[in-house]
């Protein structure tokens, strides 16, 4: 892919920047990297108590707490990476004004740290699956494709945001609002079955919803409403194609703007 070709030379730089990023993230904290494991653990406990014992929302879905946790962890990656990438260029303004390297290196290196956190979170999910004896079906290998699509979506959005933020500082606030809205518009905390059918179908057009539901289907339980088992053939391709379109446009926009970053940042 063209990304790899461009950055082969700068691989070392990406590694160093990502390493620095990671070191600094938990600097001075007592638990350090362990927080990446402790956070989802604690989250699971809270979700379990609230949703199984108190609210009893997800009674219709088996293993609801893990179902929830997976969704929350995945959304966490999306919201964290997009929010952090937003500022990746501007925060490194000093660097950009003094040295040349493909600016995309900054977005990628920031992404690696979030990616590592996400993987650690997934490990916790898998642990819970093992403890609760949830065994995914043979189609679990499709999860790789779903995750790939997920990264494409998240990174694509990140390209856009980081380039836009250089020119328009309100993007930070705007994105915050959009993320909040999206969070509730995506069936993360509540099962899709609670929503009227038509609205549910519209919600599934959102790639984030489609991805999370697909992941849940493959990993946790077949009793999940997904895009492909709900939407008609006319619309089902929309959420699957959107991430790639977003990625290509985002990548192009970023590269076009990159030449002027040093002057504008």
């Amino acid at each position: 892919m063209f990304i790899k070709k461009l950055n082969y030379k700068y691989l070392g730089l990406i590694k160093e920047l990502a390493l620095t990023n990671f070191k600094l993230k938990y600097q001075g904290s007592v638990l350090g990297y362990l927080w990446s494991l402790v956070k989802p653990l604690m989250l699971f406990v809270v979700l379990y108590i609230v949703f199984t014992r108190i609210l009893k929302i997800g009674a219709s879905i088996p293993n609801y707490p893990v179902y929830l946790l997976l969704g929350v962890v995945m959304w966490g990656f999306f919201s964290e990476l997009t929010a952090i990438s937003l500022g990746a260029i501007v925060e490194n303004g000093d660097l950009i004004r003094k040295v040349y390297f493909p600016r995309i290196v900054l977005v990628i290196s920031v992404g690696i740290t979030s990616f590592i956190t996400f993987m650690l979170n997934l490990v916790v999910v898998f642990i819970f699956m093992a403890v609760l004896r949830i065994v995914p079906g043979l189609d679990v290998f499709l999860l790789l494709l779903v995750m790939f699509e997920f990264f494409v979506l998240t990174v694509g959005v990140s390209f856009f945001l980081s380039a836009l933020f250089v020119k328009f500082r309100d993007i930070a606030h705007i994105w915050e609002v959009i993320l909040s809205v999206l969070f509730y518009a995506t069936p993360i905390l509540y099962p899709l079955s609670m929503v009227p059918v038509t609205i549910g179908k519209i919600m599934l057009l959102n790639p984030a919803a489609q991805i999370i539901q697909d992941a849940r289907y493959l990993l946790i339980t077949n009793q999940t409403t997904t895009a492909w088992n709900t939407l008609s053939w006319k619309y089902v391709w929309i959420p699957y194609i959107l991430p790639f379109i977003i990625f290509i446009i985002g990548y192009r926009y970023f590269n076009k703007s990159a030449a002027k970053f040093a002057e504008e940042v």
């Binding site: 730089l13 620095t20 000093d94 003094k98 040349y100 328009f168 030449a259």
Partner: protein, 413 residues
């Protein structure tokens, strides 16, 4: 930026940096719009931009192994040019071709993070400068040794003194593997001991035949280390040539600008005077041409124009010439010289002083004055104009340049 394989020129040395008709304009908005609201509103109001042409049709060629200086006043475009060579800015028009690996040192310690240890910063900083991890590991000991920081290498960078920080940054920069170095006035760093070390490195670079492009204000450095230099003026190439020639031009340019500035300021100020007083000073050389630089040994003229508002009878016109330190070198007036001044009604008066220049080279200022017949000063403009004296064909020092010959007897031929 493109890379060519081989750009050999007639002299046999490859051209490693080639700049062709490079121009760069910055649009500086009067009010920086960084919000959507601002941008949206901006659609309706006329955007006020200031277009600043930082570089105008700059062309140059730098050969392999050259130590090339770029000098010019602040705002002449030197840093912009360097940043364009480094790939940080993109040209509006023109082309830059670089043949070889470039290491830019536009600032020391780029990317250094105070929360990391010195060791970690070396690897980070090295990666930013384009070094591979293996290369950094190889040179690590040399880098630490040059900076004299062996004991502190695992300490957090924020705990270093600024001198130590600078030493490490410079040491890394020096040891970075590169064929072409771009440096931007990173010379004013560290204590004198360290500075001496750095200057030794420059000598080393010259010997090793590395190509260096150096942006600086320091004329001594240009004269000592540079082979050729470029003098930039307001974004345009003023001249490119041998370092000593360019240095001289730079000095003259600077002083000329300074004189022009003080003279322009002076004229503007004085013109506002409502009372009788000095209006303007012009300095002319022996050919009656206006100028600011005069050779000792020839005559020059100081022309002072006074504006008379109310009738004066037998006024005294005079000037004081001061040297760069403010010492009075020469004072004269119509009374001393016993020149008759009669009655002057409202109008303009021009007083011309013809002076045989025996001043030593240096900068001087002129303070003209006018007083009434009783000695009461009507106007005195301190240091209203300035000029510079240069030797004709030999050097001398001190305050005056006396006509002299030197005769030696004895000794062997």
């Amino acid at each position: 930026m493109e890379k060519y394989g081989n750009m050999a020129t007639n002299s046999g040395k490859e051209v490693v940096i080639k700049v062709e008709n490079l121009s760069k304009t910055f649009r500086i908005p009067h009010e920086k719009t960084t919000t959507l609201k601002g941008a949206a509103l901006g659609l309706f109001t006329k955007k006020r931009y200031e277009k600043f042409k930082a570089l105008d049709d700059v062309s140059l060629e730098i050969k392999e192994g050259e130590f090339f200086g770029i000098i010019g006043r602040n705002g002449s475009g030197k840093s912009t040019l360097l940043k364009m060579l480094a790939g940080i800015y993109v040209p509006d028009s023109g082309k830059i071709t670089i043949n070889g690996k470039l290491s830019p040192f536009l600032e020391l310690g780029v990317g250094f993070n105070p929360e990391l240890t010195a060791r970690e910063n070396v690897f980070l900083g090295g990666a930013i400068l384009g070094l591979r991890r293996s290369e950094i590991s190889e040179k690590f000991d040399d880098i630490v040794r040059f900076a004299e920081l062996e004991e502190f290498i695992d300490m957090k960078f924020k705990n270093f003194s600024s001198g130590m920080q600078v030493r490490l940054a410079f040491s890394l920069a020096i040891n970075a593997h590169a064929e072409i170095l771009l440096m931007d006035e990173v010379l004013a760093v560290g204590d004198s001991n360290f500075q001496a070390k750095c200057l030794d490195e420059f000598e080393d670079y010259k010997k090793r035949g590395k190509t260096v492009v150096l942006v600086t204000h320091n004329i001594d450095v240009v004269k000592k280390y540079c082979d050729r230099a470029l003098l930039l003026r307001k974004g345009k190439v003023f001249d490119i040539g041998r370092a000593d020639k360019i240095s001289r031009q730079y000095i003259e340019q600077n002083v000329g600008d300074e004189i022009e500035r003080t003279n322009t300021e002076a004229t503007e100020e004085v013109n506002k005077e409502k009372n009788t007083g000095v209006e303007k000073v012009d300095i002319l050389n022996q050919n009656q041409k206006a100028g600011t630089v005069f050779e000792s040994g020839s005559a020059f003229f100081i022309l002072v124009r006074y504006k008379i508002k109310t009738r004066v009878v037998n006024p005294v016109f005079g000037i004081v010439i001061r040297d760069a330190s403010g010492k009075q070198i020469f004072v004269t007036n119509t009374e001393f010289k016993k020149v008759d001044t009669s009655k002057f009604d409202k109008g303009l008066v021009e007083v011309k002083y013809k002076i045989e220049n025996i001043l030593a080279p240096g900068h001087y200022s002129i303070s003209p004055a006018i007083a009434d017949s009783s000695g009461r000063i009507l106007d005195w403009e301190d240091d209203l104009a300035s000029f510079r004296v240069v030797n004709r064909d030999y050097e001398s020092g001190g305050l005056v340049d006396l006509e002299h010959d030197i005769i030696i007897s004895g000794g062997q031929k």
